[in-house]
Symmetry: C2
Subunit: 492 residues, 2 copies
């Protein structure tokens, strides 16, 4: 564990980066802005994928796979979408390298292998998918199409941060096609609910559901719904979006269907996605200065058993007991690791498993052997207790549930404490700067005001919450009339 | 089911392509050489992934994720590898599009957004991964590294065919690092065994394990092991490869470790992969003129129940019985679908599920209701029998096992019948042209002879089988001495 220790207090951003690297979650690669997701980090992502994939399938979706590349002519078909992503596109222009005649052993792009039409590396797949759906949809019988894709996408971001903003990232993107506007809106809502349920029940992160303002809307959408979480430094993080795309892509790609009545209508669309960004949210919501804190529902290792021993004989005695414990836990579907490495001392192991966020640590030494006990430590509160071996499986199972619940409650208390109603511009700036978190304030509904507030404070409107209460008021910035509060925050 | 019916006899290649498209497995996309994998096809691939992923994890491997892009300077570091892939690389040269001033609403590559160093879209990931491993490996304690990645890769093939050869394809690539040569060779062998087990037990395809000749070796490997299957048209298909990479990548990227004795040594490497090409093998091995035939172990739907009814009342009675059957089957882990669509007649449904390769079809009509029976049809042999409802779950379970076994045996009989020992050049050409399949013949061990045989017959050496018997002989082409037979075939 030889690395520079930085606390959240000292430098939140550095704390985050150190944690990601030191807990073996991810690291920067030899490619600008692209990360390597290391095995331990990927194991967490796999657990996220597994639960989300199950939830998608339970709501009737199937997976498919569409091309990585989007020909420029398809990419530009939906103009708003194209405009929104054009500035950050990786573009393939050639399909061959050749030996560089001027430099032995080096390669160069073969100028004779220029593509007739450039290919955009997908920043999102609406264009290529709607070009495909055109061939799949003729009649109302072909609808709805409920498809999801797990894929990599590329957006050439200038400033990148591990998991939070990388040039390449992994995500899932759902793309659905519907006969009616209402059905498409219901789908948009349903998938936002799936995301919220996942965030709260698996990630242990309370989220606010709402709709984005026009400024913050997905390029090509009629409406963007989102879930917003709050990180420990008081900044918001958009954790997932679900877009009602109207008939924009159907029109751009001329996708019509014959209704029951024999009329030709454009198809209605949604798309929705979450990405490896969720890893950043997970890390920043729960972790502490000792390292990662993982909710049990997503921890690749839920319980680690560390033996404390002198000599082989003692280790063997502990190993025997540990095996019983492991079997008991595994029978309950709990993942458990027995860390019998002889290369490191128990104290070092304790620190390592703390850094890696394992929810429950069980230590077993000679005294435990004699007494039929173990020491059980929980990662979230760092509380320890000595427990009898009897019925240990059930106790640990309950403890894991308690940790999952506690992480959520702790995050929810923090989040709820950081939603502040403000009614004056001074208060607005003060809360943003000092208390941080969400600022609930009246807004006049214009993009200009939104832009000016962003310019002066860096805060954006995170969403107009679905549960916004109708309340007349005056815009905190312009003083113009407003019909309800919206949530501002500085954000990742 | 309105499509042109072509039999294998008439045009094998067209039969294959029609089947892939009509059974909703995949289709060509708007991007040259790239396919769309449709939901039904992807569901089969997901089952392959699930089993392979489990087998990789059971043999100690973890998943991770490495960047899509390889900077040119890293790509060219291992010269043989670079040379092998340079001619088919998609290259990203720019990171932005801009509005085309000459054409309203159109975009163009922004010439000012040229990358300083071009990025190759990974055709395989040894280079980017070994550049990463350099940072992970200092001491023998850091070894072995046993990592796998599920990813998309791009190889700019000129002639493409759905699943078999596409510009972009999905695969897994294992990349391992070891302290000793022996350990790396054992890993190479172990993973080939995993592939063979998967091919035989899940895909129902018998495979020959062997080693590639130097001509056919992976660019950058010291040795390439492979599994080779035989398709119904008598052509071989390479289904998976496992490479012993020696110290080639360790040397190219300067990856050394400190041994227990304190010496600095280069690390030993393997890589191994299978791809969506396996879908092509699966389709071509078992399917018939009516469509896909799926082995139960990989079928997304193992059993379909089709009601034969007149009127709602009868349908309700059948539905009730069908629910009991479904529950019984699901309790055994069997996936079952009740096809109660009122838009199509039973005959149409029978044809559709045949086309889609569902292993077992259960039909239930009024007479069955009266007699407490169902009609059970197996897709592989097309045999039908009327079975009592009692104990139907067990009967269907056994039937699925029988189908899985039968498909394997049938394929094995065909394959075994198509390995022909030949000792003269005329016989060689005759068998290749007329009988087809593998030709087991003596070869003088030179690349020149291999090239000439390929030129004259299009046959390549598929492998030197691991179980090659030592037998003195004369090369079938050159007459020079040989120490054992190798397997030639025309191949996909």
């Amino acid at each position: 564990m030889a690395f520079e220790k930085v606390t959240r207090e000292q430098d939140y951003s550095k704390w985050y980066n150190n944690l990601v690297v030191n807990a073996d979650l991810a690291e920067n690669s030899g490619v600008r802005g692209c990360m390597v997701i290391k095995p331990y980090g990927f194991a967490i992502w796999e657990r996220m994928q597994r639960e989300l994939d199950r939830m998608f399938k339970e709501t009737g979706h199937e997976n498919a796979y569409f091309p990585l590349f989007v020909p420029k002519s398809l990419f530009e078909a939906e103009e708003k979408n194209a405009e929104g992503f054009a500035k950050e596109c990786a573009v393939v222009t050639h399909y061959r390298l050749k030996n560089n005649p001027d430099e032995e052993g080096k390669l160069m792009v073969d100028p004779e292998a220029r593509l007739e039409e450039e290919l955009v590396v997908r920043p999102t797949s609406e264009a290529i998918i709607w070009n495909t759906y055109k061939g799949w949809i003729q009649s109302y019988r072909d609808l709805p199409i409920l498809v999801n894709q797990w894929a990599n996408v590329v957006r050439w971001e200038m400033r990148t941060r591990l998991f939070l903003r990388t040039a390449e990232f992994l995500w899932q993107e759902g793309h659905t096609a519907h006969a009616t506007k209402q059905e498409a809106i219901e789908e948009t809502t349903q998938m936002l609910d799936v995301y919220a349920e996942f965030a709260e029940n698996y990630m242990g992160i309370p989220v606010i559901k709402g709709v984005k303002t026009e400024n913050e809307r997905f390029a090509g959408a009629d409406d963007t719904y989102c879930i917003e979480g709050l990180m420990q430094d008081g900044k918001a993080l958009q954790m997932g979006t679900s877009h009602f795309l109207g008939q924009n892509f159907a029109k751009a790609f001329d996708v019509k269907y014959t209704t029951r009545e024999g009329k030709q209508e454009y198809v209605w669309a949604t798309s929705w996605g979450v990405s490896t960004r969720l890893m950043g949210a997970l890390i920043m919501t729960h972790s502490d200065d000792e390292g990662l804190v993982l909710p049990p529902n997503l921890a690749p290792i839920q319980v680690v058993i560390v033996p404390i021993y002198k000599g082989e004989e003692q280790l063997e005695q502990i190993r025997e007991k540990a095996e019983t414990i492991q079997n008991e836990l595994r029978a309950k579907g709990i993942t458990v690791k027995f860390d019998d490495r002889d290369t490191h001392k128990p104290g070092w192991k304790f620190a390592e498993w703390e850094l890696k966020g394992v929810p429950v640590r069980i230590a077993m030494g000679p005294r435990d052997l004699a007494n039929g006990t173990v020491e059980v430590a929980r990662r979230d509160t760092k509380e320890k207790e000595v427990l009898k071996l009897e019925d240990l499986g059930n106790k640990v199972e309950h403890l894991l549930t308690a940790i999952q619940d506690n992480l959520y409650l702790k995050a929810k208390t923090f989040r709820d404490d950081h939603i502040t109603n403000v009614d004056t511009w001074d208060e607005f700036k003060d809360v943003l700067e000092n208390k941080t978190g969400f600022v609930s304030a009246h807004w006049d509904g214009t993009g200009e005001t939104e832009d000016k507030i962003k310019e002066e404070t860096k805060a954006t409107i995170r969403c107009i919450p679905f549960d916004q209460s109708k309340e007349e008021g005056k815009c905190v910035y312009s003083g113009k009339p407003s019909k309800g509060r919206v949530l501002f925050a500085k954000a990742y």
